[in-house]
Symmetry: D2
Subunit: 381 residues, 4 copies
């Protein structure tokens, strides 16, 4: 039904789509409610049997999005459904001491943690492809190009090493953030008042249950965790986009130094079946731009009013989903392009001769530290 059903699959692989899909968010919200109950049971706030009932409940959430309109977020109808599924006296312990934002923010971090697994795997695969190219083409001479004009010679291995370093740097930041994604639990206004003096203990247990970091204090109104993640995703997508841009440029008809794999209509065109478009790189560039748009929304959302923002918070949910999905999609698309990349080393050498410089005439003598730099980059892989 939504606008994304047609286009998202072009840019995002199934595993990544699934990881941020509505069902994944619902699953995460239910996991959060279960973790809350478990933590509260462990701290003696609610009966242990209730926590088990909540964990075992399989509520029928139905059309949660439509039901969420009245409250402006899906937690309210979700809790209703969960209470109904749990039933009886236990129902009143569902969502005990929590507020909607506790559940949705913790779920967001859980979705992010889970989605980062395939996203990071795609980035790993890109790094691997870059490392392979760097190793295989350590001595493959080609033109260095500045402002798109030929400069002095480089090697394709050095170029791939630069790609590698860029993506690996962004990946390192995402990995670090993934370990720091904080749980959210503050109750109605961040005091955990309903939990009396057991608030901090429940918070600690809750974070442990979810495998998320324990925050110093609730961050309902301090959106650093979301904004930093959005920014890191935009940087990762940008690092991927740089590679994709280079691939598109090297694949130009007049340059012809690389070509993405063809076959099965890949890279074809509706008007010109003979064409061989660098379709992986093209899709990666498009996906990276989508991430940048979403990251802008997340950065803007930092200006949050008081203990819960009236709109900025609500704008995070699709933006974060998109930032995760399309970063994974950018990496996946690029990886597809790189994995079958045909490298025309003869063409690289021939293009180099266009430059007519001294270096072009005797390029190997002019490579300086290229090989050393490749080694250094490979250590980042």
């Amino acid at each position: 039904l939504t606008s994304r059903s047609l286009f998202t699959p072009i840019f995002v692989p199934e595993a990544v789509q699934d990881a941020v899909a509505g069902a994944a968010w619902v699953r995460a919200m239910l996991d959060v409610e279960a973790a809350l109950a478990a933590a509260e049971a462990a701290e003696g706030v609610i009966p242990a049997a209730v926590a088990e009932a909540i964990a075992a409940a399989r509520p029928d959430v139905g059309e949660l999005g439509v039901a969420a309109r009245a409250a402006g977020n899906p937690v309210v109808p979700l809790v209703d459904a969960l209470r109904e599924a749990v039933g009886g006296d236990a129902a009143r312990f569902v969502h005990y001491g929590a507020t909607s934002q506790d559940v949705l923010d913790s779920a967001a971090m859980l979705v992010a943690r889970r989605a980062l697994e395939p996203v990071l795997a795609e980035l790993d695969a890109v790094v691997e492809e870059c490392a392979r190219l760097a190793r295989e083409h350590r001595d493959t001479l080609m033109a260095g190009r500045t402002l798109l004009q030929q400069a002095v010679p480089v090697t394709f291995g050095l170029k791939a090493a630069g790609w590698l370093a860029g993506v690996a740097g962004a990946r390192a930041r995402l990995r670090a953030l993934r370990e720091a994604l904080p749980a959210q639990l503050g109750g109605a206004a961040g005091t955990l008042a309903s939990l009396g003096d057991r608030g901090p203990a429940v918070l600690a247990a809750f974070a442990r249950e979810l495998g998320l970091a324990e925050p110093a204090l609730p961050w309902h109104g301090a959106r650093g965790p979301v904004a930093e993640l959005g920014a890191a995703l935009a940087v990762a997508a940008g690092a991927v986009e740089k590679v994709a841009l280079d691939v598109v440029l090297l694949a130009q008809t007049e340059v012809g130094e690389v070509a993405e794999a063809s076959g099965d209509g890949r890279g074809g065109s509706s008007a010109m079946p003979h064409k061989r478009n660098p379709v992986g790189a093209v899709r990666a560039r498009a996906a990276a731009r989508t991430v940048r748009g979403a990251a802008g929304v997340l950065l803007e959302a930092m200006a949050a009013e008081h203990e819960r923002a009236a709109g900025a918070w609500h704008s995070e949910w699709t933006a974060l989903s998109d930032a995760l999905a399309y970063t994974g999609g950018a990496a996946w698309s690029l990886r597809e392009g790189l994995s079958g990349l045909e490298v025309d080393t003869a063409r690289m050498r021939a293009n180099l001769d266009l430059g007519e410089s001294d270096e072009a005439r005797e390029p190997a003598a002019h490579l300086g530290a290229a090989s050393e730099f490749i080694d250094r980059a490979l250590r980042l892989a």
Copy 2:
């Protein structure tokens, strides 16, 4: 499956969602193929019977998004499906002389034209609500506020008139752009070469068939039509967002001058059932932010390489869908908030007394041209 299934319904009404959904895009692409065939038949380029067959075909498009990965756009598999549905000799006249971008760009303009109907209807409804408030509260005194500090008195009618003027101005631009949305037809590289000397005539007929404007020349690489639409949607969403922000501020517990309608859980909270959140305005603000993110993607996409961009073009599809959907959603959400708005005129008067200025003591004598300004704004409704 996609990330939007859970959250989009909170912010976007069904009619607007449907207007930009995958099915709407597929419908539009098929309409474009039919219009192309009809135009070509009218100009004697292809047999009339073929055009009828194309218009009558009901291709099974299946999982178009996944099939679209190989070529990077959904037109290639769509044309395959359409050719199969048409069958026989006629199949080779399907998509005759066109390129993928002709179909997708024309479909985008068609989707925009169709989606702007409910979007403009929602903006009309917002304008109507503002006009109603302006009329009803022409003499309702309240504090004017600059930098969120009370300044001199205004009327609530004047405030609503300012809302009206902002939204009506943005609406006027969208209306004008809607009439100017151009068809796209250029063939493989913008020359309409396959149509020989009948290219311009086919282009004119094609645009007429679709009810779109005839462009001076193909705009495969000149993305003004898309970027201008994106910018106009961001401006419209921004005009809505301004109203929503004012509503949120007026509804603050300590201000209490307006309240959105409650009932059926509307504006409720999972932790505090007694709360009465301005949920329409809150959703409107979130939706407007999403539009802004999408508009940024569309503006960036103007830098398009040569006769078709390698990635920028591909980033437009979801961004345009989002910009349309969430502009409609922002207006719809706000309208819901305004339509049941409870205005506490006594509280407005009481708050005015907080200001302790001369004007606050005798406010009606200090309204100047407010009523005249209201009349002027109402003429924009």
Copy 3:
């Protein structure tokens, strides 16, 4: 002193820099105060002699920026300086009935109106260069390129015609907006209360004095005029950027179809003096990106609180200045690149042969409507 002193001259010509410089804003603010006094004198609100004194005053504004910190805007210290310069009894009629935002918004529109003159002149020059290229190269065959792969043949004239149409379209919008830039006059909260029943008449006279449009009502909190201008500048910069991107791509060593003029170190490099970089196009691309960043700030500023925003308004001043300056700078940089552009028609023909398609072998027979499209575009010049 500011961060811009080193870099701005690279991207923006003196005439455009001057048009948005601090001095231009101060001049505009003083013009606004004079126009206000003149309008009020004409309507009998203040003595005519006072208006003359205000118009004749040459206040020493000194370090207005630093003085503006206390109030958060430069109008407060400017009015102080103006009152001192006018002196005597007349001083109390300075700024009569107006608020800071009246002066700053009207000055912004005046600065925009004045700056759009050189900006539009630069866009005119770009259009002229495109028209010249379209005429001169009507029959110059070259490869059409989609996704940066050679497609069917086009002419360089058609490509230039597409550039022309894109820039001319954006220019048309800027021209229309320039005529619609509204004066701002509302007094403390938009009621013109201090002017009693003469408010609307003073507003009309004030707008006439300034050569600005008369708004339906004050727009202190309805930022459409600024946001629409920002968006239109981003679209114009984007249209310029598209041309610059194509120039950079055509100038690649391996493509070699165009080159910007060299001489006097133009396009040189610190490491490789023999290089011939397309420096005009490069600078244009950078400038366009700066516009886009500024336009984002302006679009975000639409969400303005009540009768004057607490921060959003203040973010407009430099963003609007940048959007104007760098749009002019983008056009100026590109124009410089286009005006001396060397077009290698033999190379265009030779590159076409790389395509190996039927069309490449007999390209002239495959140009379809190209010439007709060129004629249409030239009518937009």
Copy 4:
């Protein structure tokens, strides 16, 4: 002359303006040339006497911005001036083995490193003010507010603790990045070819000379270091903006819980001298928006062509300067607002009574873990 001369001082303190001013960039570029020469002398690439001459040279750089137009960057004319100042045979060793981007990127990192000192000092001061408020108001009851509706009670200390944690988190990232800012040295295309086998050793010495990190390999085309810094500045500005937004909201006439210090016209208005605007917070909000616009430019610039981008790179210089300056300015403005903040604890208590909830009647019993959370936040200060 530039557009910033009037407005920048309102938002950015002198020390921060100076740190990113044209003169600071020129100083940094000369420092880079001197460090390069020193490193090369240490490795025996150039004579030691030459390095001393370069370090001692005081070139007359004149109107570098205008001179930079021909090459598109200021390094070319700067190197010319430096060679002239050094004179004689030594001149040819100036800039030896380097390219413009080596100098400008290293200078950018040096400017960033130096500017981050006052920027971080301003952030430290904000953290200090928040810590002071958190300590002083540990037991000051006030309303928690979600969606701008009163929720359950909090303390002002807890609110300030949340501010503290947000700013401290962003500060930690900036501190870490500051230590990781890499030198840039790759020569014409990233191979350091001119330095033969001494390239890596020179690079290491060069980085040491500058006090910058040694990169694994040149990053001419891998813009992570700039984009990550831009993103971190946007996050820091966003954390500041959140506090500023809360201050503006608390300072509303109808809320009246805090007021910024007045006196000497601070917070005044041209129309209403009695007003007391939260001008520090207002300026901080505006500055933060400017940072966000600049950060968008920097993120977009990651898509860099090959070994040096044709425009994206050039867009970084003013964007980075702005991002640094306005982050510092946002913190400085907010700090000014916080340092004299008058906190009306009686009003906080009175407003709490508006809520009419059970919690409002006996708020102290409902504060849960607030005090514990404050302690935790204070440990981040």
